[in-house]
Structure formats: C-alpha cells, structure tokens
C-alpha cells in the first residue's frame, strides 16, 4: 500500500460523510453522461442557487465553485490557477474563478476523471459577491448557450425591503422561469416546486438542529471543518431532493447518538477526546491543505462551535425556511438572505450572537487573500467583536484554493499563540470565579 493509500485508509469518516460522497459522485457521473441520457445541464453558483427550481425542469446541476473546491482538495487547483494566469488573468483576483477557468482550459475534466460536458444554460443568481458577475461573464464567453441572470440586491440596512423582494420575484417569474422552460422544453409546474420546497424545509430543520448541537458541551460536531460537510448537500445540487432529507435525518441521528454518549466531534484521526477551546470562525476554510489545517485545531483540542462559512449558501438558523405556501417569494428571501449578502454590521451581530449562544472562548478570522466579499472589512469586524464580547480574537490569512498562499508554519505559529492566549485568559477567568 502506498503512503497516500495507507493514510486514506486510516482516516475516520462519519457515516453521513460517506453518504454525501456517494451523492456527489453520482452527480458527477450524471453530469458526465447527461447529454447521452438526453438530459440538459445547468451551471450555477452556490450562494442563492435556485436548485429546487432547476429540478422542476429536470436539469442536471453543475456548480463551478464546487469544482474549484474539489480541485483544491485534490491538489489540482494550483495548476489550474497557474494555467489561468498564463492565459492573462491577474495574480490579484479571486482564485476560485481562476481555478474554474484553468480547469476549463485544461479540458474540463471533473474530479472523477470524467469530462464535464458543456452546460445548456448558465444561471447566475448574483448574490453576496460582485465577482460572481464577472465570473459568469467569463464563463459565458466560453460557451454558446443560453444565459439567465438574477440580480439579488444587497441587504445594506440589514433588512429585506418589499422593493428588493418584488424585484427578485419578478425576475424569477418573468425571466428566469421562461428561460428554463425554453432550454429544457419542460413546462413549469408550481406544485412540483412546492413538493421540492417541502423537502428543503425538512432538511433545513435538521441541518439547523445539527449546527445548533454545538451548543452542547462537549460539542458533538466541529461546525467549520465538519460543518462544511454538513452543509454540502443543502448548499449544492441536492437541496429539495428526498435523498437530501434522508441524509440530514441520518446525520441528525448520528449527532444525537454522539450527544447521548457525551462524545466530541469526529476528526480524521478519530473522536476528539478533550474539548479545550471553543471557537467561532469567520471566513471560508482553505481547501488545498484542509486536513493539515484542521489538524492544527484538533491537536490543540480546539473545536469550532459556529462559523459563518456554513451560512454562505443560506442562513437558516434565524428562522428562514423555504416555504411551499409562498414558493417564489421564499426563493427570493433565500437568495437575499445568504451570509455575504448581509451588511457588515449584520455580520458582526450574527457573530456576536454565536459567541454568546455557543459559549465560545474566542473568535477567529480566517481571512482569504483573494476574496474581497468576505475579507474587506474583516479587521474592523474583528475589533468590534472583540470589544463587544470581551473574548480574544485571532487573525490568520490563507486562501481558498491557491496553495501558494497557505503557509503551514506561519498559520500554525499564529494559531498556537492564539490558543495559548485563550487558555491564559480562561485560566484567569476560572481563577476569578473560584475566588
């Protein structure tokens, strides 16, 4: 057995992770053979995706960000990014975009080694990040297919106004649905949409339960490193399907069992025995060194109890659910409500709320070099959160998929001193309480 294979076999996975892997693989296979099977393919971004609507038209769903993420995890993104830079893209811009474009330039081979066919429709629900708009134009440039664009206004004042909602609803009804009908040849059936939304709401309920289980001590989950797996199906091509509802039911049962046994989260090296530090984390993770990055936390007994990244494809923990009674309106509210479509003050409030509700010991910001949507303003957010909660805040810098910007020694050093600071502060607090 080679070292990589050996390592693979010793990695511990939750049952739900295995289930999810199967779903993802099946989707990549469906994408590879879609055209032979007489199916149409849609390509769409994660935040504010209209998965249930796309399902109404029998599209097989491709998500470029997930391809970039998968390329990162499989150590391929570095080459893709260099390819995009060779073809004229600046080193300064979002690396997700470059990973995707580089993958296209290198023959558009999916993570399973099978080619990803050309989409039949590009659907951009442009929410939470301006770069999506440019990415969409760049991808559109390469394809000869129909495009539909949904502009989702920004919640600058921390609320959804009627004008915003109406704007999104009108675009869905008058532009997006007709385009989807035209390309798929399938007539829109609102009752079919309602059925999918019912499934979404059930899955969302269980996802929220799972994420909120981190309020327990010890937390049975890691809401960042584990959390990104938990969010996978609901954020991507699967929300609205029965399989996804089942997945979240199974996940919830797994987590319930862990709580009953008083167990901590499952890490790649087994169940974490001792929870020493509880953290709230802002910002996306790094994918190219995901496992090494995670290890820096669990080796120190640091567990992430809440994170903003697990809200990037939808904020469900403050009550929003897809609503079959108001199908299009709830699609609009979903798009408007994704994490980075919230104002900076709203993001600060959300994170302070997590610090309190999840009894966190510290707040950590993983700032992503090439993601302005998340990163611009994070230093002020950090100060605000530190001031409001009185808990120590830490700051590290990495990138999503560019391996050049992940410096393991540097990140590890910073994390270690940050964790020490938290422990010292906790010790002082405990001593005061004892006295």
């Amino acid at each position: 057995m080679n070292t990589a294979a050996k390592e693979q076999s010793t990695v511990q996975k939750e049952q739900s992770m295995v289930l999810q892997k199967e779903m993802i693989n099946a989707n990549y296979e469906a994408l590879a053979t879609a055209h032979e099977d007489g199916k149409k393919i849609s390509s769409t971004f994660v935040p504010g995706n209209l998965n249930e609507l796309l399902m109404c038209f029998d599209f097989v769903r491709n998500l470029p960000e997930i391809n970039a993420l998968q390329a990162g995890m499989r150590k391929k993104s570095g080459g893709y990014i260099m390819e995009a830079e060779r073809s004229g893209h600046s080193e300064d811009v979002c690396t997700y975009v470059k990973s995707d474009l580089g993958m296209m330039a290198k023959g558009q081979v999916g993570p399973n080694g099978m080619p990803l066919p050309t989409p039949d429709i590009l659907l951009l629900s442009y929410t939470g990040c301006f770069t999506f708009m440019k990415w969409f134009e760049l991808v559109r440039d390469q394809y000869d297919c129909e495009t539909a664009m949904l502009h989702v206004p920004y919640q600058a004042d921390g609320k959804i106004t009627d004008n915003m909602r109406n704007f999104v609803v009108t675009q869905i009804k008058e532009q997006v649905i007709p385009a989807l009908e035209r390309v798929s040849g399938v007539k829109f059936d609102i009752d079919r949409l309602r059925e999918y939304l019912k499934e979404s709401a059930k899955a969302e309920e269980d996802l929220v339960w799972v994420l909120q289980s981190a309020k327990n001590r010890p937390s049975p989950i890691d809401a960042y490193f584990g959390g990104v797996y938990y969010c996978g199906p609901i954020f991507t091509a699967f929300r609205g399907s029965k399989a996804t509802t089942d997945y979240y039911r199974a996940l919830r049962a797994e987590v319930e069992a862990r709580i009953r046994q008083g167990l901590g989260p499952v890490t790649p090296e087994g169940v974490l025995d001792e929870e020493r530090i509880r953290l709230v984390v802002e910002g996306p993770p790094n994918w190219t060194h995901f496992r090494d990055f995670w290890k820096m936390f669990y080796d120190e007994g640091a567990v992430v109890v809440a994170s903003s990244y697990t809200k990037v494809g939808g904020v469900y923990d403050f009550g929003f659910r897809h609503d079959p009674e108001h199908p299009i309106e709830s699609l609009a509210d979903y798009c408007l409500g994704c994490y980075t479509n919230h104002s900076l003050p709203a993001r600060v409030n959300m994170l302070c709320n997590y610090m309190e509700e999840y009894s966190a010991d510290g707040f950590l910001n993983n700032s992503i070099k090439s993601c302005n949507s998340f990163s611009a303003g994070q230093l002020l957010m950090l100060r605000e959160i530190e001031e409001r909660t009185g808990k120590p805040a830490g700051f590290i810098e990495t990138d999503l998929v560019d391996p050049r910007y992940f410096s393991p020694a540097n990140v590890k050093n910073r994390l270690e001193s940050y964790f020490q600071m938290i422990e010292q502060k906790k010790a002082r607090g405990d001593a005061r309480t004892a006295a």
Binding site: D92, V93, F130, K134, D141, D157, S343, A376
Partner: protein, 388 residues
C-alpha cells in the same frame, strides 16, 4: 480666465485634502448640507435638487500619508478604501452630512458597513443600482430605489423635493454633461491642445465645485485653451481604461503623455459622463432619471453586460469614434472588477485588431518610470505598425 490660472485653481482643489472649498461653500449659507459619494455612479441630480452639495470622495491619492487606514485593511485589498478611511478618521470628512456608497464592488459595499459601524449619526447609504436592464423590471426596481433615496434626502433637509426642483437639477446636469462632451470632443480633435492631466484636474474639480460653477469652468478652460498654441507631437492616440474607481497618481497620466501617447478617451469620474444623452426635463423626472440609467448609461467593469456579443463593444466604439490607435489598460492592483474584466475587453480588441498594453497601479504608486517605459514601448510599436 487665463489657462494657467484655471489649471492652477484645479490643481489647488485637487491638492486640498481638507476639502476647504466644500467647507467654505457650506459656511456661506445657513443650514447648507453636503453629501459625499464614492465612485462610480450616483444620481447627483437628486442631491442637487435637495439643495445639497454632492462631493466626490476619491481616496487620498499619493499625497496622503495613510497611518490609520492600513489597520483596517489587509495588504491584498486595493488602496482607495484605506485612504478614504484615513480621510474620515483624521476628521477631513467631518464636513459631510452623509456618505453614499454606490454598488461598485464588494470592497465599497463592505465599506458602507464599516461606515455604519464607525461613523454613526450621519446619513450612510449603500446606493444599489440594477444589473437588470429591462425597463419594467430593473427600471421599476431602480425607480423605487430613487424614490426611497429622495425620501431620505427630504428627511435630511426637512422639506420635500418637488418634481420641479428635480427637473431644474436635471437641466443643470444636462448642461454640465454637454460641457464635458465638448471638452472631450475638443481633446479628441486636437489632443496636443488639451493635455490629459489638465482634463483630469478639470474633471476632479467637478467632484468638489457646485455643478453650475464647474460647467462654467469647463467652458472657460476650452476658451482659454483655444487661445494658446501648443506644440503638436508625433504621439499616437490611445484610450485609457480602468481608472473608474481608484485614482491614478497625476504623475502616471503625465508619464503616459510624455511617453508619446495622446489620450483621446478615458474613464475618469464616470459619474459626470455616466448618462450618455440628455435626460428629458419634462414628464416624470424620477422616471426620466431611472430610464436614462437603464437605457443609455456608460459601461464599466462594475456593470453587467447582458449579451455576450456586446461585451467590449463600448470600448471598441470609443476607440473607433475617437480614432484611437490602441488602448492602455491601467487597472488598480487587487481590483477584481477591472482585472477580471480586462481579458474579456482584450479579446474584443484582439478580434478587431486593436493593439493594447496593460499594467497595474496604486493611487500611491511612486515609481513611475516603469509605466513610462511600457507606454513608450507601446507607442513605438503602434508607430511601427502604422508605418508598416
């Protein structure tokens, strides 16, 4: 006014990071109010109709020592937000009664939230514009956004903004746009007479002065420029692109000309050139403004182009109309909109055989020699091609 005097006045305004002219305007009348706005576009007509002075806030350029601002931004974010924060923290923006953040990019969007957190008690507004250019959809959304902005302004000044006030302001801005059209046409016709650093300074003055005064200043400049005779050089004609948000150091513009390029079109201060025709002064003024945005506004990297085949056409058209021989892309470092757009624009140019060159700058770039060399090489190669 003599040419030198006009240029010096604009230069003084440009260098005055304390916004003295704005303060003076404010103090000249009781209850006067001022609203700042970042690039690229806000409907200044509405602000003007409320009796408020709109002021363009364009960062600190290469003159401001950024001391506090760096603590707010990581090294991999462009310069303009940090120097803008610096201006605010050092009290230079205290004369503003409000601040507008147009929907330009994620950096400016998030800056609006930083403002809400840091500078409370004044009007702070993220100004959203539609990326959907259907009159009944994007237009209807925008119309209601304009109405809500109008209400916010009315609350600030304590009185309604009437349709007639708005029509009068539209008229004033139509005149300003017309003056700018004439200035740009003059430069395109005789670029040796209208150096681009002077055009830049004139446009910058329009970010501070009352619009009526700015219109007059442009006409005075044109008249004065026609009085002098400047040497004609063997320069090539270029369009520069990418300067719509973070500002280039003035030296950069000078370098481009010194390197042998006459700039015949640019994307400076787009707020003043955003609407491409006059806005009608009869009928519903709010609808006229919103229809103008939807149907005849300029193009930048911050704006979605609905049809793939139209991408880059705006730039190509500017090259054609101004008889340019090439394009210089000058993009701010770390600017996603400009840098992601650039390859698509370059493709559009390549498809039509239009040469281009590209570099990145920051508002405080001190080393101008590399820009000069690159622009010089570009100018030489254009001359070589045209001679061949």
């Amino acid at each position: 006014m003599a040419l030198q005097e006009i240029v010096e006045r604009c230069q003084d305004l440009y260098e005055d990071l304390d916004f003295s002219s704005v303060r003076a305007w404010k103090e000249a009348g009781k209850g006067r109010k001022v609203i700042g706005h970042m690039p690229v576009y806000v409907p200044r007509e509405l602000i003007h109709a409320a009796g408020i002075l709109p002021v363009g806030i364009l960062g600190g350029g290469d003159q401001l020592d950024v001391i506090h601002g760096d603590a707010y931004y990581q090294s991999y974010i462009c310069r303009i937000p940090r120097s803008t924060i610096e201006l605010a923290i050092t009290g230079r923006l205290d004369c503003l009664d409000g601040m507008l953040f147009p929907s330009t990019c994620d950096v400016i969007r998030n800056l609006s939230g930083m403002w809400q957190l840091k500078f409370q008690g004044k009007l702070v507004r993220y100004f959203d514009v539609p990326q959907n250019f259907d009159l009944d959809i994007g237009g209807a959304f925008y119309n209601r956004e304009l109405q809500s902005f109008r209400d916010a302004l009315a609350e600030l000044v304590g009185h309604e903004i009437s349709d007639d006030d708005l029509r009068a302001s539209i008229d004033v801005y139509n005149k300003n746009r017309q003056a700018i059209v004439e200035l740009y046409a003059y430069r395109a016709a005789e670029p040796w007479q209208v150096p681009t650093p002077e055009v830049y300074l004139l446009m910058r003055a329009g970010m501070l002065l009352p619009v009526e005064e700015h219109t007059q200043l442009i006409y005075d400049y044109i008249a004065a420029a026609k009085e002098v005779e400047r040497p004609v050089r063997d320069n090539c004609r270029v369009v520069i692109n990418g300067l719509f948000c973070e500002q280039p150091p003035l030296g950069l513009l000078k370098s481009i000309e010194l390197a042998g390029c006459y700039v015949v079109d640019d994307d400076f201060m787009l707020v003043a050139r955003w609407l491409l025709h006059d806005v009608p002064t009869d009928g519903d003024p709010l609808k006229n403004l919103s229809d103008a945005f939807i149907t005849y506004s300029a193009e930048t990297s911050c704006k979605y182009v609905p049809h793939k085949e139209d991408k880059g056409k705006f730039l190509v058209e500017s090259v054609r109309k101004n008889r340019a021989e090439g394009v210089i892309f000058a993009s701010p470092s770390f600017c996603d909109p400009a840098l992601l757009d650039r390859p698509m624009l370059q493709n559009a140019l390549t498809a039509r055989g239009i040469p281009f060159t590209a570099f990145k700058f920051a508002e405080n770039s001190g080393q101008l020699q590399p820009f000069r060399e690159q622009a010089g090489t570009f100018a030489d190669s254009i001359k070589l091609w045209s001679a061949a």
